[in-house]
């Protein structure tokens, strides 16, 4: 038996007296956790001490900052579909997690975050490194709970995993006082499968299903839009089955990307602010809008006053609170996307919608001519983000896990990467958290060690969590980092250019030589500025074993288009800066 197997076996013994902190570790193993991310400190030391005896069964990744730990756990959760786990100490350790927890909440990422807390007798006394973590995290967690007695630990962890992963997933936080970690309990583990006050999903309503089918069968110009719910609900195959049978064109939100193969003939592109031209204008021309596993975020809808007013709307969604929150629906189908799409596919009539699909192709041709060609095959000197992203994607045969940070490069990544399998595009959508990319890529690589993992980051965002280069070096993680350096906080600069009279207030940013920084960590890298050297540089990056950093010089005025200006209608999408000044 290997050490790992021995430890796992030991963790499974029931009815033994152990400490609360050992119970934490055993419970994590019982829930199938294999990798956890964290950072030690006073109030969580007993848990770290217990971890020492299980370090082969439960791999711990020491990040360089707790924000790195939580984003890494998010990246891990997003590629694997499992619950991501991170641990931190009380006070500053816990507050450093908050950005990632808020990010996971708005992007429905299943997480269990464990924080140490001062001894229960000291709660509320402003003890050293005490902060009200349950209070702080309340608005940004799906559930949170403070544990003050060791006996409560196994049950609370079981509940935490169940809540994090079921229904609409989300982050859960457990705050464990030091005395609960030190105290003893008779350990027994049972998974949680039911909580009486919590309905993770509702059974499918058959009448509504029939109503939806009628609308679908009668529609002349139906349009399907989908979000991350497809992947969270493991409904990729059902989505494909549904559109293949009905011939309905489908577009994705930023977080829905990779749920449907990029080259599927009915995949018409991205929705929203920097989405594709066709999906945006056709939203206001279709007669039926079928939204699946998405929440009508304002970056997707633009102004609601003119959003799809002409269309009937079907909303397939697991979270009842999302129904009619932003957009009034005609038929709401509450429940699991996988089951609903499967049932719907059975009862709808086959169709082709040839003419209608052609309209999307025509819109694409317009965008291709006005935007895409010059992004991908620019005639002028100076590299564009689009061409770098596309070349990297092609080099990996569109099979890589692509992670992005936040900004212009994020939009270029979403627009120009291609995907052939789900759970392959990882980015911070709802919160738009700069600094997400690098640590999320660490989590993604640990979740998918046999796939290429590439992170595209901006010069600004990369510096927000640049310290995680240390984690990559220590763990020898083969993450490929591509910094699209435009020497600016590009996305903000773009808004200043378009909407603030080119008053570039504090968006010019000085950066270190990123390749030298990587070198200081023992990570190889290279610079590239010329088009004719790009392919070679990409090739060397992938051929180099282990991590690699490629810093690419990008033209600073390489703005992202198309664009639906904030508060505008999706049909008023701009294809070029000239459109904006019109």
């Amino acid at each position: 038996m290997t050490t790992k197997e021995k430890e796992t076996k030991r963790s499974q013994q029931q009815d033994v007296e152990i400490t609360g902190s050992e119970a934490v570790i055993r419970s994590l193993i019982a829930e199938g956790a294999e990798v956890i991310f964290g950072y030690p400190g006073g109030a969580i030391m007993p848990v770290y001490d217990a971890l020492y005896d299980y370090r082969n069964a439960l791999r711990h990744i020491l990040t360089r900052h707790e924000q790195g730990a939580v984003h890494a756990a998010q990246g891990y959760a997003r590629v694997t579909g499992k619950v991501g786990v991170c641990i931190a100490t009380s006070g500053p350790g816990a507050t450093n997690l908050m950005t990632g927890i808020a990010d996971a909440q708005i992007d429905s990422t299943p997480l269990v975050c464990i924080t140490g807390q001062v001894t229960s007798g000291l709660l509320g006394t402003d003890a050293f490194q005490e902060s009200d973590v349950v209070g702080l995290s309340m608005p940004v967690t799906k559930w949170n709970f403070q544990i003050t007695t060791p006996e409560d630990i196994p049950e609370a962890i079981a509940k935490a995993f169940y809540i994090a992963a079921s229904g609409r997933p989300g982050p859960v936080l457990l705050d464990i006082t030091k005395d609960a970690q030190f105290g003893k309990l008779k350990y027994k583990y049972a998974k949680c499968h039911k909580i009486r006050s919590y309905v993770p999903e509702y059974p499918v309503n058959k009448e509504k299903l029939a109503e939806a089918a009628t609308l679908i069968n009668e529609a002349k110009k139906p349009f399907l839009i989908f979000g991350q719910g497809i992947m969270l609900g493991e409904a990729e195959r059902e989505l494909k089955g549904f559109i293949d049978k009905t011939g309905i064109p489908a577009a994705w939100t930023l977080l829905g990307l990779s749920a449907l193969n990029s080259d599927h003939p009915l995949n018409v592109g991205m929705l929203g602010m920097h989405g594709n031209y066709g999906p945006n204008i056709k939203t206001n021309e279709c007669d039926l809008l079928i939204a699946v596993g998405m929440r009508f975020d304002d970056r997707v809808t633009g102004t609601l006053k003119t959003y799809a007013k002409q269309a009937k709307i079907i909303h397939i969604e697991i979270d009842p609170a999302e129904i009619n929150k932003n957009v009034k629906t005609d038929v709401a189908l509450l429940g699991d996307a996988k089951k609903i799409l499967r049932l719907l596919t059975h009862i709808v009539s086959p169709n082709k919608h040839k003419e209608w699909v052609k309209e999307f192709k025509q819109a694409h041709a317009i965008e291709d001519k006005k935007v895409i060609q010059s992004d991908l095959y620019p005639k002028k000197p100076g590299l564009t983000m689009g061409e770098v992203v596309r070349r990297v994607s092609e080099y990996t045969k569109n099979k890589a896990v692509i992670v992005s940070d936040v900004g212009q490069h994020q939009m270029a990544t979403a627009r120009y990467s291609k995907f052939t399998q789900p759970r392959s595009h990882i980015t911070s959508g709802g919160l738009g958290t700069m600094g997400y990319g690098l640590p999320a890529a660490i989590g993604a690589k640990l979740g998918e060690p046999n796939r290429e993992v590439v992170v595209f980051a901006g010069d600004g965002g990369f510096q927000m969590t640049i310290q995680e280069l240390g984690t990559i070096a220590q763990e020898k993680l083969g993450v490929k980092m591509v910094i699209l350096n435009n020497h600016f906080l590009g996305m903000v600069r773009q808004w200043q250019e378009l909407f603030f009279e080119k008053r570039y207030s504090f968006t010019e940013i000085l950066s270190p030589d990123f390749v030298k920084v990587a070198d200081a960590y023992g990570i190889p890298g290279n610079h590239v500025s010329d088009r004719d050297k790009l392919d070679d540089a990409i090739k060397v990056m992938f051929e180099t074993e282990g991590p690699y950093l490629l810093e690419v010089n990008i033209e600073k005025d390489d703005n992202v288009f198309p664009m639906v200006p904030a508060g505008a209608s999706v049909s008023d999408i701009l294809l070029s800066p000239e459109d904006a000044t019109k």
Binding site: V134, W143, N144, A165, S166, K191, R196, Y198, P200, K325
Partner: protein, 189 residues
């Protein structure tokens, strides 16, 4: 149009739950007119009654957000007309003013209020009713000087004969058995 709505929640009696509920309101800039918590007819199940002044559409969304809280069993909203409700008010006046004339006593009688406690110094009067009624009595008494005044949050019951909680719990149990969540499906595999 904004009007008064009563939100009722049934929940587990867990630490911090009231906070979780109120931040849903404060985040949406909704002012809480009153909030009361108590046990329900079923032991272990806590009931919170909140009064807000809002548009119905917004109230609907808020109630769904409250309902989504893991420890909340169910949240409802009602208009005032749909519920029987009361508030209780206490008034403290000088016993001297009570003795000086029979005006205060008349007020107490005509408002169906009662005296809770008389000391040589002060007298405490209690009145149960809707806000307008307890307010009206306040105005009357204040002519003689009210030393202290307090009004409770609203408590409210629906017009259906019994609290259908035990039935609700049974139905909930059946519902939870019926939905095959992914974790259940995995367990079965």
């Amino acid at each position: 149009m904004k009007k008064e709505f009563i939100i009722t929640t049934y929940s587990e009696n867990h630490i911090g739950l009231t906070n979780r509920i109120t931040i849903i309101l404060t985040r949406r800039q909704v002012n809480i007119e009153s909030l009361t918590g108590s046990e329900s007819a079923l032991p272990g199940i806590h009931k919170i009654t909140i009064v807000i002044n809002e548009e119905e559409e917004k109230v609907k969304n808020i109630v769904k957000q409250i309902d989504k809280i893991v420890d909340v069993l169910k949240a409802f909203y009602h208009t005032n007309e749909e519920m029987i409700y009361q508030e209780i008010a206490l008034y403290k006046v000088l016993t001297k003013s009570l003795m000086e004339s029979d005006e205060i006593e008349k007020l107490i009688r005509s408002h169906n209020a009662r005296i809770l406690e008389i000391t040589p110094e002060y007298t405490v009067i209690e009145k149960t009713g809707h806000k307008e009624e307890t307010q009206e009595l306040f105005q009357g008494l204040n002519k003689f000087g009210v030393l202290q005044f307090i009004r409770s949050g609203r408590i409210a019951l629906t017009r259906s004969p019994i609290e259908k909680l035990s039935e609700f719990l049974k139905e909930r149990d059946e519902l939870l058995e019926k939905v095959e969540t992914r974790s259940k499906l995995r367990k079965a595999n």
